[in-house]
Subunit: 207 residues, 2 copies
């Protein structure tokens, strides 16, 4: 049924589905069944059908889903139908790696600016992007940048977020292991890499 609220867990899975669909599209296929897509992304077929059911019928019984059309719809839902200009703050080891990371492009996310406090880094080009001083952060809105990635040392996390909020950013991906606060209108997702590794031993039975 159309016009359902899409559950958060479904939203979390949509990017994986999108990747699978784009992959299939590259293979030249036109339709894909929930089963095939499920195998590709590693979930169950009923999960996929349920997820898709929240935002309309894109499938044809006996045939499957129309890849192009479904991919387009998912992009629209995720608001990835526009190229998203993204800023990176903190050009250390992790920051540089993120600048070089090609994966963001897949989703139409484009890192178009990089900032650092270190004057020795300012002016350098890393992966085609010129590093600017943090004082230049204020003009993000004018430059149509609404997303930001924070890869600074933890001490600088909150001030960086504050600066980004002031600059009009709407979404922040925080790689710092810190709780940062921001007004409700700005969505912050924190990704603590070490934490993910830390819960691995729990699942390894004995040893």
């Amino acid at each position: 049924m159309r016009y359902h609220k899409i559950p958060d867990e479904t939203v979390r899975r949509l990017p994986i589905y999108l990747r699978g669909l784009m992959f299939s599209a590259d293979q030249g296929r036109e339709h894909i069944s929930s089963k095939s897509l499920a195998d590709y992304v590693g979930v169950h077929s009923w999960q996929i059908r349920k997820d898709f059911s929240y935002f309309g019928d894109f499938g044809t019984p006996g045939v499957g889903y129309h890849i192009e059309r479904l991919a387009k719809e998912i992009k629209k839902i995720l608001r990835l139908d526009v190229i998203r200009r993204t800023a990176l703050v903190g050009v250390g080891d992790l920051g540089s790696a993120l600048l070089a990371y090609p994966g963001f492009r897949t989703y139409g996310l484009d890192i178009v600016a990089a900032f650092d406090v270190d004057p020795r880094k300012v002016g350098k080009r890393i992966s085609e992007v010129k590093v600017e001083g943090v004082d230049a952060l204020s003009h993000l809105k004018k430059r149509q940048i609404s997303l930001a990635i924070v890869a600074v040392p933890q001490e600088a996390a909150q001030t960086t977020v504050d600066a980004l909020v002031a600059a009009g950013v709407r979404g922040i991906l925080n790689f710092t292991p810190c709780k940062v606060t921001a007004p409700k209108r700005v969505k912050v997702i924190t990704l603590d890499i070490a934490m993910e590794l830390a819960r691995l031993p729990y699942y390894m039975p004995a040893g």
Copy 2:
């Protein structure tokens, strides 16, 4: 009540709690209330009390939780009470950044070996760790390495995982945006960085 099964979502939060507890311990405090800890990590106090209730009573009404004792227990549950020797496969931009990342130490996770296919990288030292050829992967068990981080290009993801499994690794953190398969005895957690950023626009209302 003791002897409950700990929910997965609770396990996911335990590392954050642990970080908060270690931070408080460094401040020289002996006890902490669910409220203070909650503020520090950014959840609600009842969530914390419920989470801790799954594995016994460490709190004293009117006083709070004994930091040292609770931290020790959480480490034990997460099996982080031993130093965990970890291998890194793929010393590209991301891999190098992970080698330099100090955050793993917090949890007693120690990257003690790094591997790459590229002969030009083999032999180099990056952040104190000498890069070895992937053929050397087979001796991980002998070297008491049970955890691994995969930071190779996607094409190499599954073969790398296979090699790690063969080498006796028990847990894998996969930074590749690929579904990889491994026997049930090996736990794989996939962390797709681009995907996290990709769901950010969904939560930014208009713009």
